[in-house]
């Protein structure tokens, strides 16, 4: 009958104070922009607020009759929420708007380039004139970058391919907005979810274990280590335990067009149907 019971006589280890420090430093991040990242570098990846406002006017004049003001007027499509019948890059959107859809389902509309950009910006901003409209590029180019020059696939796994070191991205397109993906690519340290932080532990017998945190509680931590093994550690058995605020992922050094393409690819990742 003596199940589930273990004896423990330790005070809390000292990592708590460390956590407190991180908490306060991250709280600051919420209200301030990271000093190293100038506003202009985000602007390279986004439409301007003028684009979005212009798009609002064009949308109401040309699109709202069928798509309605809230963007949900057509079955299977919610323009405001970015839900389409298939993944669409910004160029795909421009293409659909100018040429229409066959069999009279949607007429093509003859618009100037700035009007077209405006509508795309308005859609990408989630119909919010004061919102952020992230540029979404070509998914095929994005996938090539992901697997090649971008070196994403050296850590991330997608659809059963790749390592386990970083979070699996098979469904990232449905659990992240374009703006969140952009933030992660440009400023990983301000976008890394706390639970995914890298951890380093040293056991009593001297083993150093590094990996990615999967779960943690008062007495234990669960992780996947550098050898891709699932490990569960009892904190009282550790001589050192650190949670790092610095992600192993570096900010992307790709061009703004390439970032847009990567986002376009990531948005196609919808996991298993």
């Amino acid at each position: 009958m003596s199940v589930m019971i273990s004896k423990i006589r330790h005070r809390m280890p000292s990592f708590i104070s460390l956590s407190v420090f991180w908490l306060s430093s991250f709280a600051l991040l919420l209200s301030t922009t990271e000093p190293g990242l100038a506003q202009s570098s985000y602007a390279d990846h986004q439409y301007t607020s003028e684009d979005i406002e212009a798009g609002l006017r064009v949308y109401i004049a040309e699109c709202a009759l069928c798509h309605r003001r809230n963007g949900s007027g057509v079955d299977g499509v919610d323009l405001r929420l970015g839900q389409f019948r298939r993944p669409l890059s910004d160029n795909d959107l421009r293409e659909v708007i100018t040429t229409g859809i066959a069999n009279g389902r949607m007429p093509g509309i003859d618009l100037r380039q700035d009007e077209l950009d405006g509508i795309v910006a308005y859609i990408r901003a989630g119909f919010d004139p004061s919102g952020v409209a992230v540029r979404v590029g070509d998914a095929v180019s994005g996938q090539m970058l992901f697997e090649g020059e971008g070196e994403c696939s050296t850590c991330h796994r997608v659809n059963g391919e790749g390592p386990y070191l970083a979070p699996d991205l098979s469904n990232i397109g449905v659990i992240r907005t374009p703006a969140a993906l952009q933030r992660t690519l440009l400023e990983p340290s301000s976008a890394l979810l706390p639970i995914n932080r890298p951890v380093r532990a040293v056991t009593r017998d001297g083993e150093t274990i590094r990996g990615r945190r999967l779960n943690e509680d008062t007495y234990t931590v669960q992780m996947i280590d550098a050898e891709e093994r699932l490990r569960s550690l009892i904190k009282a058995d550790l001589v050192e335990y650190e949670v790092s605020e610095t992600p192993t992922m570096e900010p992307a050094t790709l061009s703004s067009d390439e970032i847009a393409d990567l986002i376009g690819y990531l948005l196609t990742l919808g996991g298993l149907e």
């Binding site: 009958m1 003596s2 199940v3 589930m4 019971i5 273990s6 004896k7 423990i8 006589r9 330790h10 005070r11 809390m12 708590i16 956590s19 407190v20 991180w22 908490l23 306060s24 991250f26 709280a27 991040l29 919420l30 209200s31 992240r176 907005t177 969140a180 933030r183 301000s190 976008a191 890394l192 979810l193 706390p194 639970i195 999967l214 779960n215 943690e216 509680d217 008062t218 007495y219």
Partner: protein, 552 residues
């Protein structure tokens, strides 16, 4: 000897040889009044009328707590947080489960004698889950409030309903989630619905007949003192619910009740004035319901700082004078000491980070420091603590409470129109997170993975010295905790948390003496009782009521 008699009588009753009216197992008012003298039972929600959740039992001690072992488990077949507090009377445990089941359980084996199921109306609505926190017992009856705001009296022997009264209209958002309080010949409850624009009240019924005895509205009507703390018709739907069981001082004949938030929750601008008696403690005459005094913790609250904490009544010297005190760690982040005879404010100290107010004035009124729009407010919406019961040990002189540390919320207010029975919130809030869009702490745990982490908020058991408001010790937890406390005469402190650990701490030092990983969130407080000379400790974790005792 008494225990033996009781057990014998229960056997006779079960064998049909004894009439229930002759049971010594009946819980007379006198027995509840002196419940501290029979620590083998747990006769009221918080153990005794003073609500200290302190037990005189001392068989389980710091030196043998290692020998605790599992005695039995009772699995809840209903999903959702299980917040019920068991009552134990002469070997029988009465416990509720969602939404409104009552069970009579053999407290030695965990096997069930009877189950009464009330299916609440489909129109019942509650903000935060189909919770029920337990029953009260008096004489041969068991009392339960329901989600559709009824109060039901059951026959303690077979679970048959004896009377059933409508306390409030569920279509207007009235509900009952608290365990009733019985005093003398009356059974008392308060109503929930602070998010639905109700007008809160505490109501007392004749325990025998279900006839209404008195009613106290927590929002004064026209012509009553305090009515001018509301403007226009705001008082008609200003909230001020009462959803946690009160305490009782028999010498003063006063019942004490914590009152919840005003409505709409987050737009205080929309209801100018102090909004009495929202976020206050009210002292009501047990016979008449008449207000004797009140103390308001958070006037014109815009943060949802319900004052539904359990009023702990403790007697001790205050500035050298023997005093009847009330100890209160409030959701607003301050720990208060009040004179419970007069309601006078004696002291108030923040026990977590507080920035909605810069301090309290000499009358205990907060000095407001509202944060700019978009900026975080500490403590966050779920408060520095909340409804889960703290404990006070007269042996250590310390007050024990679950605190949420480094947890903040960004509030947004907007105009809300009152529509009967609909949510009446006046805005919303987001929890401060280290990165945008990160997972946050919600009401209760829905995953075994803590993907919000301690960066969004941490839990701590604080042992506060009432005289200074300072923590004599603290026991930190990675996740926040909604667990209440239990202390014993052997200076043990039992508590749990969302992580599903059940801890036994040294009540004097905070040292962890023993723990068990029960796996499901502990969102209520442990209780203890003794049968046939064996002390038990029961706690609910997840969907399981677990009972421990010393190894045979």
């Amino acid at each position: 000897m008494k225990m033996l008699q009781s057990a014998l009588l229960i056997l006779l009753v079960l064998a049909g040889l004894w009439l229930p009216s002759q049971l010594v197992g009946q819980v007379s008012y006198d027995r509840i009044l002196s419940a501290a003298n029979e620590p083998e039972n747990w006769l009221t929600y918080n153990g005794t009328y003073s609500s200290q959740r302190y037990s005189g039992l001392r068989q389980i001690t710091p030196s043998n707590v290692d020998n605790l072992e599992l005695k039995w488990m009772l699995q809840n077949q209903v999903f959702g947080a299980w917040q019920s507090n068991p009552i134990v009377v002469d070997g029988i445990m009465y416990v509720t489960e969602r939404p409104n089941d009552v069970m009579a359980v053999d407290a030695v084996t965990g096997r069930v004698f009877w189950l009464y199921r009330h299916t609440p109306s489909e129109d019942a609505r509650v903000c935060c889950g189909a919770n029920n926190r337990g029953v009260a017992v008096l004489d041969d009856k068991v009392f339960m409030g329901t989600l559709d705001a009824h109060l039901i009296a059951l026959d303690a022997t077979n679970g048959q309903p004896l009377w059933n009264v409508e306390v409030g209209d569920e279509n207007l958002g009235y509900s009952i989630t608290m365990a009733p309080l019985v005093v003398k010949d009356k059974v008392m409850v308060g109503v929930g619905g602070g998010e639905f624009g109700i007008r809160g009240f505490v109501i007392a019924y004749d325990a025998d007949t279900g006839e209404e005895a008195w009613r106290f509205y927590t929002i004064p009507g026209p012509g009553e003192p305090g009515h001018d703390t509301w403007s226009g018709d705001d008082w008609e739907h200003g909230g001020a619910p009462v959803w946690i069981t009160g305490s009782y001082d028999p010498e003063l004949n006063l019942t004490y009740w914590g009152v919840g938030n005003p409505g709409p929750d987050w737009n205080a601008d929309q209801r100018p004035g102090d909004n009495l008696y929202s976020d206050a403690v009210v002292a009501l005459d047990a016979d008449t319901g008449e207000l004797q005094w009140y103390f308001q913790f958070t006037p014109n609250d815009g943060y949802d700082y319900d004052s539904v904490q359990v009023p702990i009544l403790a007697d001790m010297d205050w500035n050298g004078v023997p005093s009847k005190l009330m100890l209160w760690a409030n959701r607003n982040g301050y720990f208060y000491v009040l004179d419970r005879v007069t309601g006078e404010f004696l002291s108030g100290t923040p026990f977590v980070k507080v920035n909605w107010s810069s301090g309290l004035d000499e009358n205990g009124r907060p000095i407001p420091t509202p944060q700019p729009p978009g900026s975080p407010t500490w403590p966050g919406n779920q408060g520095g603590t909340n409804w889960y019961p703290p404990s006070y040990s007269p042996r250590t002189g310390l007050f024990y409470v679950s605190a949420w540390e480094d947890y903040a919320t960004i509030y947004e207010k907007e105009e809300a129109e009152y529509q009967p029975g609909r949510m009446f919130l006046g805005g919303g809030f987001t929890v401060l997170t280290p990165v945008p869009g990160a997972p946050t702490i919600g009401i209760g745990r829905t995953s075994p993975i803590n993907n919000w982490t301690d960066e969004v908020g941490r839990g701590a058991v604080l042992a506060l010295d009432p005289h200074t408001g300072e923590a004599k010790w603290r026991f930190e937890q990675f996740d926040v905790s909604d667990s209440g406390m239990l202390t014993t005469a052997s200076d043990l402190l039992f508590t749990g948390g969302r992580e599903g650990y059940f801890h036994a701490l040294d009540a004097r030092t905070g040292e962890l003496l023993w723990k068990a990983s029960l796996g499901g969130q502990i969102v209520m407080a442990p209780i203890t009782y003794m049968i046939n000379g064996e002390q038990y400790v029961s706690v609910i974790s997840g969907h399981t009521l677990v009972t421990f005792g010393l190894r045979d």
